[in-house]
Symmetry: D3
Subunit: 113 residues, 6 copies
């Protein structure tokens, strides 16, 4: 696995464990709910992950973008489709999103290694 991807996942897991360990009931349930929101329902998981990706991009959260890019890759979303999600996010969110687009493209390529 690419180093950037690996470091991202390791840090994410390590800190999530600490957060769960703090035993705050509201945060625990929010994490749980987060998982539920993306599980298959009337919409399939691929659509839901693309929704998560687009929202993360317009809200300009690099880590959230990376997380959903990884999920999309696992679910078989291809490059052309990912760039159409990027295009919508950049039109809606404006050029302020472009620096996040750059980092997203870098991470997307890292996922291929």
């Amino acid at each position: 696995m690419n180093e950037q991807v690996e470091n991202f996942n390791i840090y994410r897991s390590r800190m999530n464990e600490k957060i769960m360990g703090a035993d705050n009931i509201v945060l625990k349930r929010l994490f749980n709910l987060d998982t539920n929101a993306y599980s298959k329902g009337s919409l399939d998981t691929t659509t839901k992950e693309m929704l998560g990706l687009a929202c993360s991009m317009v809200l300009r959260c690099d880590d959230c973008v990376k997380y959903h890019l990884q999920k999309c890759k696992e679910l078989g979303v291809n490059k052309e489709q990912i760039f159409e999600v990027f295009a919508i996010a950049n039109i809606i969110g404006g050029t302020i999103v472009i620096p996040h687009l750059r980092r997203a493209v870098e991470f997307w390529e890292a996922l291929d290694e």
Copy 2:
């Protein structure tokens, strides 16, 4: 057509015309590009409109939410699916999105009349 929906569309069209009439080339092209972004590509138009809806909701833009709700309705997205989009947007964006969810639900119902 429901009065709220009609007024929304009339105001939107009227002001868009004024904006186009001002003849600013950058704004004209941005409006054009906005239309292009949602046309069928590797992703179908329904997926794209749902992406637009979710992004509009996390960015808390009532008018943008209304616009994409109308498009989703025209494309046959059903209530259960719309609420799954709402759920993802509210989990990502937090409870600060709830007042916009209320107005979205009201508009969604108005679209049925």
Copy 3:
């Protein structure tokens, strides 16, 4: 009760019922979690409501501000304290928050009627 306050509460309740009625499990749990987050823990409810108020103000959500103002009033927060919360929110969020401050002050007075 003041008319502005009453209309706010009626609309809020009516739309919340519709949202609950749609039976989306993620949204239902999020609403539930929202209630839990403000219940007494290591921090008392008054502190928590002031946190909710300040966050709502910097995120510039008028309806959220109104909701927490009402809660603060019920819990006995006085005008001087409320204005200190306002001051922090306006320093952190900048002058872009001022229009929301104006509407908050109007609603705070309406709660007295």
Copy 4:
């Protein structure tokens, strides 16, 4: 004076007085500082008001946009220039800014009456 413009100014003045009347030292100084920031320095007041307008637009604050539009009009900024400010704000902030652009154009016209 146009009714929309007049109501805007009356409400703004009335609420500002109430805020000043609450005698919170931090808010009072912030209001003061706000005035200072736009006074002539190395940059002229027209440039500063256009900066205020563009920032208000990307932050999507209708009232702030209206305030700076009024100032720009008083300082002699013309329609073509205003639309170039709008164009930059909409490119940077994306299509999410468009509903605010519509209301800005409406208010700009109201200022002419």
Copy 5:
């Protein structure tokens, strides 16, 4: 002192000095006002620092979160209380806040070293 905490404080002080050195009267007064806003008034400093922390978190400013965490630690806020502030900020701001929560938890632990 932990290295992360020390580097954070050194950079912060060094750049603040440069900003003050530029002698812009508006920025100088804003920095001053920032200090005033958190001094004891009708609300105690601990409550005010928690307000600052929650607002910084929903606005997703890592450096601001770190600054207020340090202040809260100095004032004796304990881990359980801090996590209740985190919980409210994450419920209001949504899962988009979680990456900032991870970094906040890391910094909170660093403050203990």
Copy 6:
């Protein structure tokens, strides 16, 4: 050229090429439009770059701030003027902007080397 400035420009160019290479028509046109928006019109390029700088700062995008600082420097904007733009952005956007101000000041100095 200073190392920070050089790395910034190299990464920016490299990722822009990749984005162009993906051949998404919407993103390509958006990049194009971005360039057009800042070209001379009724407003001169210096004013437009200062508008871009102020908007980038209130939206808290470090990379966007750096880009426009570089452009402003090339166009001859001096330190006092830059700090007046900073002052307006920090008053409008609040103290949440200060960490971005620190990084902006650091980059502005790097441009002098």
